[in-house]
């Protein structure tokens, strides 16, 4: 210890001339090492300004009547006219309802499944088996919706899908799974869960590794059954993670993935399967109604923003907030 001290050199006191010199030198060194970092950072700033903040500025379109000749800046202001149009049209109200409905169903049914899967995987003692199952259930996450939608339609197809072969044997005639509203919703929610349950389980598996094994032993000694151990030890152990992820998924309630809806949609179920993102694509981009659909987009972003904030506010009451 003593040797280390002598190496460190003289001790500086406040007001010391040498000390001042030293801090200035430090500031200079800091500045010098900042130069390459700042140069490196310039493209990043440009990216965020152009592709993230400029579109946020572009949201003024929602209050304007966009036309191609005047551009974003010079088009005339119209106030809340587009919002009035949106909220008086039963079709757009239906679309908002579909968006919220489909994603709420996905959260309600989809949220617990990765937790259950993680707990089940955690209880497997044969490591080879565990690893094999994990490799398989993570995989669908990496496949595009085109592939999954194709598989789904093949499996549930009217003519020779595997499911309908069975249905036909039992009831005598096939059922139009993709074209009836109830079964379409079930397939939509189910395919979303199926695709991502394994991948979403990773986070819970990580949280499960932090639980102290002696808690299980103690519970076992006290005669707690496996299910009781899971209820009283495992779930409380991963509670913070559960709440954190619940907040994040609440924030995403306004967001149903475009790809999934677009590829599973068909004209028979449009009444319940048209959501904000597909509406904006069809009416906005294909129909060139830029201002109206920007208003819809702004509404979507604002609600999502409010949802994340209020979810976080609630979570803070449990001391689990994001910020």
């Amino acid at each position: 210890m003593k040797a280390a001290r002598t190496v460190r050199g003289p001790v500086f006191r406040p007001g010391d001339k040498v000390a001042k010199h030293r801090t200035r030198q430090q500031a200079l060194r800091r500045f010098k090492s900042n130069i390459p970092l700042l140069i490196m950072f310039v493209p990043v700033i440009l990216f965020y300004v152009i592709f993230r903040y400029a579109p946020i500025g572009g949201l003024v379109l929602a209050f304007k009547d966009y036309n191609f000749y005047d551009g974003v800046l010079n088009s005339p202001w119209v106030g809340f006219q587009h919002f009035q149009t949106l909220f008086q049209d039963s079709r757009t109200l239906e679309i908002i309802r579909n968006t919220v409905g489909l994603s709420l169903l996905s959260v309600v049914f989809g949220f617990p499944i990765p937790i259950i899967l993680a707990i089940m995987l955690n209880e497997v003692r044969n490591m080879g088996f565990k690893r094999t199952i994990q490799t398989i259930v993570y995989m669908p996450h990496f496949l595009s919706w085109v592939i999954i939608a194709m598989m789904v339609t093949t499996v549930f197809s009217m003519e020779h899908g595997i499911v309908n072969n069975l249905v036909e044997k039992i009831y005598g005639e096939p059922f139009a799974f993709m074209y009836s509203k109830g079964s379409w919703i079930a397939i939509f929610v189910g395919s979303g869960i199926w695709k991502d349950m394994g991948f979403n389980a990773i986070i819970f598996l990580a949280a499960l590794t932090t639980i102290d094994p002696s808690l299980y032993e103690a519970a076992g000694m006290d005669g707690a059954s496996k299910l009781r151990q899971i209820w009283h030890v495992t779930i409380p152990g991963i509670r913070p993670t559960i709440i954190l992820l619940l907040i994040l998924s609440m924030g995403r309630v306004m967001e149903v993935g475009f790809d999934q809806v677009y590829m599973l949609q068909n004209s028979n179920v449009n009444q319940i399967a048209d959501v904000i993102s597909t509406y904006i694509y069809r009416t906005g981009l294909q129909g060139a109604q830029f201002s109206l659909t920007t208003a819809m987009g702004l509404f979507e972003s604002l609600v999502a923003f409010l949802l994340i904030f209020s979810a976080n506010y609630i979570a803070r009451k449990f001391n689990e907030g994001l910020w």
């Binding site: 592709f51 398989i136 592939i147 899908g161 906005g284 920007t294 702004l298």
Partner: protein, 289 residues
């Protein structure tokens, strides 16, 4: 300690249910593979289950001869390789300065970036920006608007911050420059995390659909996702087929399945090698949010 009866039941049920879940992930893939390798009559009759019936490579033959799948395959490769390289480079350029303690206003920049995760301009304003920049119908429209995923950037930043401080100090004393530190120390030490994020970006570009559909008008530039989707939606599956006997032997399911196989194979080829890395990456992301 021996398992009680209740535990035995629990473990057995656990194994059975997990096996069923895994099967549900494999069986559709097997079904599609079998469809793509079966004869037209067997496919039409619905006799194909998990194993090819009347084995034939006809679906693949007509896919390669009658559709621009080869071209769109290379388009997908181009979009993925260049896009991933660009995204990784710029994500490093964002994450590294933000991970350095001496970097000016790192808190401000981090906050400004995280804000864009919870509030964004949406599709139409973004489209107008891309259009103004003249990127429509070029792959720049696919690469630039999604260049950095803030989430991936945060994972990378916290991974850089968690590297041992001693290595950093030692390199400093040896006179290592700021960039030398990045290239010789930080990046080589972060290989697993870099592999994870490259996989995430790569899969994103490989599967990109909406952006291609929005920004690319020229069918020659379509990637596989859009091509296959168009094949599924349209009734005339295979274009410019001169030989009528070939057309009569075609089944839409067979050709679609073959196309799906062509799309999946590259992902399945890299997936097992990167699997052990991405689990870590996701866990790292979960800890720091």
């Amino acid at each position: 300690m021996k398992d009680t009866r209740g535990e035995q039941v629990f473990y057995t049920l656990n194994y059975i249910v997990l096996s069923l879940i895994a099967l549900s992930c494999i069986l559709p893939l097997l079904n599609v593979t079998a469809l793509s390798l079966s004869g037209a009559n067997a496919v039409m009759a619905g006799r194909v289950g998990l194993w090819p019936v009347d084995f034939s490579l006809f679906s693949f033959e007509s896919l390669f001869k009658g559709t621009p799948i080869v071209r769109s395959f290379w388009n997908s490769v181009e979009i993925t390789l260049i896009g991933t390289a660009l995204s990784m480079a710029v994500t490093i350029m964002a994450a590294y300065p933000l991970s350095r303690k001496q970097f000016y206003s790192r808190r401000f920049f981090t906050m400004a970036m995280v804000f864009t995760m919870i509030f964004n301009g949406g599709l139409i304003p973004t489209y107008l920006v891309v259009q103004k920049l003249g990127l429509v119908n070029s792959y720049g429209a696919l690469w630039l608007p999604g260049l950095v995923s803030t989430y991936n950037m945060l994972i990378m930043r916290s991974s850089f911050e968690n590297l041992p401080k001693e290595v950093d100090e030692a390199a400093r004393i040896d006179g290592c420059s700021e960039l030398g530190l990045l290239f010789r120390i930080v990046l080589p030490l972060s290989k697993p995390m870099l592999a994870t994020l490259a996989l995430f970006y790569g899969v994103g570009y490989w599967n990109s659909f909406m952006s291609v559909m929005i920004y690319i008008n020229d069918t020659v530039k379509f990637n596989m996702t859009v091509l296959v989707q168009n094949m599924i939606k349209s009734t005339s599956l295979v274009q410019d087929f001169s030989d009528p006997t070939m057309v009569s032997n075609l089944t839409p399911e067979g050709v679609r399945s073959a196309a799906v196989i062509v799309m999946i194979v590259p992902i399945l080829a890299v997936y097992p090698f990167l699997q052990k890395y991405f689990v870590k990456g996701v866990m790292l992301g979960s800890i720091k949010g």
